[in-house]
């Protein structure tokens, strides 16, 4: 494969597409599929064939506003239809070229206008199982350009210049990490993609892997070229079977086109990718635990240093990045580091994909420039809290993050700003809660999650999360005291400072942030034996046996 061949493919795809008068794009992401978008696609194809209209019906990845699904977009007019089912297929085909179907048309301009799409630029525009579709939208151009015109250090320089930071949540500068792996000695190095999206309530990485798998592969190949690796692993959750099958297809297609394998683009660069399945352990999102899992062992983290950049998979230097980080690489190489650095805020560059869920009108995926105010995401893009309820808090960062109250909605989204208010950026889950959610119960939910996901290797996390859960259960069932609350806070500090890995260090965040911003709810529970949101059942007798059985 050479650049000329790549351009030839892109040209033939656009010629092929030009033959059609209309393109009908059907979202086939998990959320739309669960509402019958696969039947809808068949019906559309049938209707198009029946009328003899010159229409291309294409399956695509997630278009974003899942709550309006199943979604259909008609190009070139860019008409978006929502809540479409198979019965509407004939009406849509009949309307092509004329007036759009009024009942189905949706007005989500406000939702889309504030977004900037870099990672999701292809979502909704390409068939994820067709490599040619990806190539026609500048796919693999960055890889071949880098291989033929740039040195590995040139690639790293461009990533450093862009200011990209790790999108898995930690926010470590990507260029710096790549530089460390590139400098590490040894001829065998690995590139690993973390697709173990463990944060319950987030699905950005799933959508990227399902909707645009080649983007991840291209990013990994560029990384491998930059750091001198020849083998890559994508670690995906087994709970995402569609992502696994789309990635498998993508890898096969890329090999067939000579974009993976030996002597890519007639250069000495060799690179191939393998998929490894996770098996349902949250802790495997931690880098050393993930590497242990790829090696076929229990996903228990180990002490660092040595960092994986020096000694990772099978003791070799290993570069580990998140799905979304890799998805940002190709556009940066194509458009330059400065282009990327011009987006976003002072110390957080570019865009971030968020999975907006919970008590909000427009649930789904959004991609916004860093620095955007939380209020804008929730009230404008998200459409606010539905059903006449009032907004109470937004939770970011999953079980490692915190709850941000209404007073702080004017906060600009960036790694540092979120950290300063006691939450974290995390991988991008954003869960909106209204007045029907009890914040003490929310804290208990997350602690329960961390307790069952703790790998058990270090004591602060294993015993500490169990004790936190006991205290929170007491407060929730009305038997808690103010001393319990004090003990809870000091226990949180201990766990934070003494745990081995990120899971334990961040497990107290949901508790501390709710105590900080919603202390009155804790006091209501303890002093007045009353749950303001009406969630906790204060009359039930204290759970017998359960909280005390797990100890160091």
């Amino acid at each position: 494969m050479t650049i000329e061949e790549l351009e030839q493919i892109a040209k033939s795809v656009s010629q092929e597409n030009a033959k059609y008068d209309f393109e009908v794009n059907v979202c086939m992401d998990l959320a739309c599929m669960s509402q019958g978008s696969d039947r809808l696609r068949e019906a559309l194809e049938k209707a198009a064939n029946a009328t003899g209209a010159n229409v291309l019906v294409r399956r695509t990845g997630c278009m974003g506003p899942c709550s309006s699904g199943p979604l259909v977009r008609v190009d070139p007019e860019e008409i978006l239809y929502h809540h479409v089912n198979a019965d509407h297929a004939e009406a849509i085909v009949a309307s092509l070229g004329g007036t759009p179907v009024p009942d189905l048309q949706c007005d989500l301009n406000e939702h889309f206008d504030r977004q900037v799409r870099v990672v999701l630029e292809n979502a909704g525009h390409i068939d994820p199982e067709k490599i040619d579709d990806y190539i026609s939208r500048d796919g693999y151009k960055a890889l071949l350009t880098a291989l033929t015109e740039m040195t590995p250090s040139g690639v790293i320089h461009r990533i450093t210049e862009s200011g990209l930071r790790g999108r898995g949540g930690g926010g470590y500068p990507t260029g710096l990490k790549w530089g460390t792996v590139a400098k590490a000695g040894g001829d065998l190095k690995y590139v690993v993609c973390n697709g173990d999206e463990g944060d319950p309530g987030a699905f950005m990485d799933r959508s990227v892997m399902e909707g645009d798998p080649h983007r991840v592969i291209e990013g990994m190949a560029l990384a491998a070229y930059a750091v001198g690796a020849s083998k890559g692993y994508i670690y995906v959750r087994a709970e995402y079977p569609v992502a696994v099958s789309r990635l498998t297809t993508a890898i096969r297609e890329a090999r067939r086109r000579g974009l993976l394998g030996n002597s890519i683009c007639n250069t000495p660069f060799n690179f191939d990718v393998e998929i490894r399945l996770g098996a349902g352990a949250f802790v495997c999102g931690e880098e050393t635990a993930l590497l242990a899992s790829i090696e076929g062992r229990r996903g228990a983290p180990r002490t660092r240093p040595p960092y994986p950049a020096v000694s990772g998979l099978w003791g070799k230097p290993t570069l580990l990045n998140n799905v979304e980080t890799y998805a940002n690489i190709a556009p940066i190489i194509r458009n330059g580091g400065k282009w990327f650095a011009d987006m976003g805020s002072e110390r957080s560059k570019g865009t971030k994909v968020f999975a907006l869920t919970g008590k909000i009108t427009n649930t789904g995926l959004v991609e916004v420039p860093m620095g955007i105010k939380l209020r804008e995401i929730i009230e404008v893009i998200g459409g606010g809290v539905p059903g006449g309820h009032t907004f109470k808090a937004v939770q970011t960062g999953g079980p490692s993050g915190g709850c941000i109250p209404a007073e702080m909605l004017d906060l600009g989204v960036s790694y540092d700003a979120l950290m300063a208010v006691g939450s974290i950026m995390g991988s991008g889950g954003m869960i909106v809660m209204d007045d029907t959610s009890c914040m003490v119960n929310v804290a208990k939910f997350f602690v329960d999650f961390c307790r069952s996901e703790s790998c058990g290797k270090c004591v602060p996390c294993r015993a500490g999360t169990a004790q936190m859960f006991t205290l929170l259960t007491r407060i929730c069932d009305g038997s808690g005291t103010m001393d319990d609350l004090e003990l809870l806070v000091s226990l949180c500090e201990t766990i934070k400072e003494t745990s081995l890995c990120g899971l334990g260090m961040t497990a107290p965040n949901p508790v501390l942030s709710t105590i900080k911003y919603f202390k009155n709810e804790y006091i209501e529970h303890i002093v007045h034996k009353r749950c303001p949101a009406g969630v906790c059942n204060m009359e039930a007798p204290a759970a017998v046996g359960v909280p005390n059985e797990v100890l160091a």
């Binding site: 998990l30 959320a31 599929m33 669960s34 509402q35 899942c66 709550s67 699904g69 999206e197 463990g198 944060d199 319950p200 309530g201 987030a202 699905f203 799933r206 087994a238 709970e239 995402y240 490894r276 399945l277 996770g278 098996a279 349902g280 352990a281 949250f282 899992s293 790829i294 090696e295 076929g296 062992r297 229990r298 996903g299 999975a355 907006l356 869920t357 919970g358 008590k359 649930t363 789904g364 995926l365 939770q395 999953g398 079980p399 889950g429 869960i431 809660m433 959610s437 929310v442 939910f445 997350f446 999650f449 790998c455």
Partner: protein, 165 residues
């Protein structure tokens, strides 16, 4: 050192050949343990003592390590699943939208706690960490099929249909 000869297949069951295929594809390397266990579970539905023993021996992994891996990861099951499985997502978005009520209703209807199968082997009640369909919370997987915005009554109707089958 003598060449390693993998143990014979436990029985004539064709599914063992699929399992063996996964191991062969990975050159019987020890790091293929989780991959192989995935294959066993997808072929047999669960992992029993015989299959764990066979995989451990074939990959030259200590049995303790294989058992440790099986019990460490939630995805692996040591019990055979029922004829039908209802899986309620317990992710954060689903919790906020009331998945705990779904779990309570299903537990009451089936008379079993989550993670168990009814005595007649008809229905298994499971919870999942998150299936990634958070935008349609609360989510229930009905024999693997994703169903969003699930109401308690709707789920109970489904359980009713399965129970009388």
């Amino acid at each position: 050192m003598a060449a390693f000869i993998p143990p014979p297949l436990p029985s004539d069951d064709k599914r063992w050949k699929i399992v063996n295929g996964t191991m062969r594809k990975n050159g019987f390397a020890r790091h293929a343990l989780i991959e192989t266990l995935h294959t066993v579970q997808s072929a047999f539905g669960y992992l029993d003592d015989d299959s764990i023993r066979f995989v451990a021996r074939s990959l030259r992994v200590p049995l303790s390590q294989a058992y440790g891996v099986v019990t460490f990861y939630h995805y692996f099951s040591l019990k055979p699943p029922g004829k039908h499985t209802v899986t309620i997502c317990a992710g954060t978005a689903c919790y906020i939208k009331g998945s705990d009520k779904l779990v309570a209703a299903a537990e009451k209807r089936l008379g079993i706690p989550q993670g168990q199968t009814t005595k007649d082997g008809q229905i298994s009640l499971m919870t999942a960490r998150c299936v990634g369909a958070c935008s349609r919370a609360p989510v229930v997987l009905s024999d693997g099929e994703v169903m969003g915005e699930m109401a308690v009554e709707h789920m109970l109707e489904q359980l009713e249909r399965w129970a009388v089958e």
